[in-house]
Amino acid sequence: MNKINLLKPNKENLNLFLLTGTLFFALGILDFYLNNFLGKNITSFLPGFISFFTPLIFGMMGLYFIRIEFSGIKLLDKLNKNINTSNFNAALSVSIIILIIFSVVPILNWFILDANFVGETKEACTGDGACWVYIKVWLNRFIYGMYPNAEQWRVNATFIIVLAFGGLGYFIPLQFKKYLTLYYAILLPIISFLLIYYLISGGEFGLEWVETGAWGGLSLTFIVSFFSLIFCFPIGMLLALGRRSDLPIVRYSSLSFIEFWRGVPLITVLFMSAVMFPMFLPDGTYVDKLIRVIVAITLFEAAYTAEVIRGGLQALPRGQYDAAKSLGMGYWRLHLLVILPQALKLVIPGIANTFLALVKDTPLIFVVGLLELVGMLNLAKTNPKWLGFSMEGYVFAGIIFWIICYSMSRYSQNLELKYKTDR
């Protein structure tokens, strides 16, 4: 029987060390759990300062005992390699585990276990957790804003039709593929605009007219981002070409346009569209608030798109230009057929980031009085029947925006891989 040195974990007494380590680790977690969630301090005999750190110390001791190289157990080796390479790493790992337990348990309680799901009024919310009844009751408003309930099918129908037209591109026969860009860049925006004008806005064909002030909620977020997104792309492309043009007037006017919009915050641009722009129009002309906002956001984001596309144009080797010119191509044919298709492929991630920023900027339109999702939340929050549920509302909106933005960024990453061609 050889002596066991407890302070030097080794392979010979693997099981013993494994057992001690696991026990210590479990003790650390238990101490933390009891202390924080059940109000019992099992190490209260120690001075307060040490007692506070006992979970960390126990956890570190546990991880120290199981730090045995080449133990032969696959799981243990993997664990050691990933979270337990040194004392410092072990301390960080234990802190993170404790932090996760510390935050996940209350969040889970609030979200699901103590939350209220059934009911129609505020009185149904009795638990300590979230009151999802609030979201349920207000969901209609959060999606459609002040759009009349009876007419909401028009919004749904518009979105479904636009989506269908958008998806059409995938099923188009091969011989028409070359017109696809044309379809997406010109035809689809026109179709969507007509649909929104006649179906959502109404006023003709026996449909009741709904003013843009009543539009709101998530559907308004989609409308504003969709149109700004469609328009800012061609404008940004022209600006990028203008900035790289040989003609000084064109170059400098594009440059100052881009630098101007990039230098000011969006909120001041929206202020401008709300209070300054009407002064610039002939007396008596009225441009709808929504259109002014879309124009403002479009111009703002176009400047950012232009800079991204310029990056792609600069990254192309000169040989591409020279080769196209030697074939006798003019300026527009050279750019449309040779340069832009390659440059745009290079800047997919950049453009996706700009579009993401655009979607995240849409809540700002509250400054001109248009209430999309976040604006509706702030309105609902002040309703005397439903006071005190701002947390639920913001969490709900956060989840919705997170899903939209995260899936967009994931999609752009896929697109980038798909179009990645070796040069």
Binding site: T268, F366, S390
Partner: protein, 381 residues
């Protein structure tokens, strides 16, 4: 051939002139019918509105120009704090993203993916309307760190009370100048014969010791005034003395920091990953120690990748601080483009001044960045 060059330019010029002409004409006409004279003389008029939080002396009897200055300083204050905090947090998270520790790596990734995909305005609202509203009232607030109180009305901390602050500041500036020249000398020395000084520690010593001596011989004196709970009425309490940081500022700083740090973290990660393995190995093979490899080979190159996009983020943070208007933190947009414009009705002048201010800040930082970029660019043949 020549018409091909002149015609598009002429058209562009014509287009711009037409649009501007159309706008100016209409603006002139509109102002005439409303009897407004274009001009900036209103800046000298009495503002007659109060601002909740200001860094310089201000009250309603002062001019609009003064109110503008208060707003500008508040904007710069929140940007400055935000930039410092988000740099620290961003660098930490960026390094954590590359950690060999699985848990740390994933936590950092989770943090980045979570905070960068939620609109900043929503985050500001969340902190201000949901999270900070859950804080205790002044009378129930627990003592933090022995001296501060975090309440629903803001954070109350001890305020420093200085004697002879100017002497202290002058020494601080002298210390900075000394550090600058010392670093220049150390660099020259290293290029000449390779001697290396512990630059960081010597700089730190100068920075700490020189101002500290003014306490001993310069008559500089520092004491603190602590916040004390005071009863206004039966149920109304407030804190007196100390320094009160309004909840608007806290919410705004928190949201800006947490949001911008995600972008900076990605820049830092990309910068460190952008340095080829060969650089590390080559440096090690000529006998540099690991800390020297990091200090002399990796960091100078990584910074070259990290700094330009990070400056962009600083600019974004400064521009995003204008969202303060949504939670009534008195920044430039709220004070000037909001209250002052409502009172004077001078939409064109005020929006123009506000935009020009942001434009100046942006262009100045861009110019600085371009200059820096040129300075550190690799000289290729």
């Amino acid at each position: 051939m020549k018409t091909k060059k002149i015609l598009p330019q002429l058209l562009t010029l014509l287009f711009i002139v037409l649009i501007f002409g159309f706008f100016t004409m209409n603006a002139q006409e509109n102002m005439d019918t409303r009897g407004i004279e274009f001009g900036f003389s209103f800046l000298k008029q009495e503002a007659s509105f109060d601002i909740q939080f200001s860094l310089i002396d201000y009250d309603g009897s002062m001019s609009y120009a003064r109110a503008y200055l208060v707003g500008l300083l508040n904007t710069l204050l929140v940007s400055f704090i935000g930039i410092i905090l988000c740099t620290i947090l961003g660098a930490l998270v960026g390094i954590a993203r590359l950690s060999p520790n699985y848990l740390i790596r994933k936590t950092a990734t989770f943090y980045i993916e979570f905070f960068r995909n939620i609109p900043l305005l929503l985050q500001i609202f969340f902190w201000y309307f949901a999270a900070l509203r859950a804080l205790p009232m002044p009378e129930d607030a627990p003592l933090l760190l022995g001296s501060s109180f975090l309440t629903i009305k803001g954070l109350y901390t001890p305020a420093p009370v200085w004697n002879n602050l100017d002497i202290f500041m002058i020494t601080l500036i002298i210390a900075l100048i000394l550090i600058f020249f010392f670093n220049k000398y150390a660099k020259k020395k290293q290029e000449e014969d390779g001697t290396q000084y512990p630059k960081f520690f010597i700089s730190l010593a100068i920075f700490v010791l020189l101002p500290a001596t003014t306490f001993l011989i310069g008559g500089v004196d520092l004491s603190f005034s602590f916040p004390v709970l005071k009863q206004l009425a039966l149920t109304a309490f407030t804190f007196e003395g100390g320094m009160g940081i309004p909840p608007e500022l806290i919410a705004l700083t928190l949201a800006l920091t947490l949001y911008t740090a995600t972008f900076i973290a990605e820049n830092v990660r990309a910068g460190i990953q952008g340095i080829g393995k060969g650089q590390k190995e080559a440096a090690a093979s000529i006998g540099l120690t690991p800390s020297q490899v990091l200090k002399l080979v990796i960091m100078p190159q990584a910074l070259r990748i990290i700094i330009p996009p990070t400056t962009n983020q600083y600019l974004n943070l400064t521009k995003n601080s204008s969202l303060a208007a949504a939670i009534a933190y008195p920044d430039l947009v709220l004070v000037f483009a909001g209250t002052a414009m409502m009172q004077t009705g001078r939409a064109i002048e005020i929006v123009a001044i506000t935009m020009a201010t942001y434009l100046t800040i942006s262009l100045a930082i861009s110019a600085l960045m371009n200059w820096y970029n040129k300075r550190i660019a690799i000289q290729e043949k």
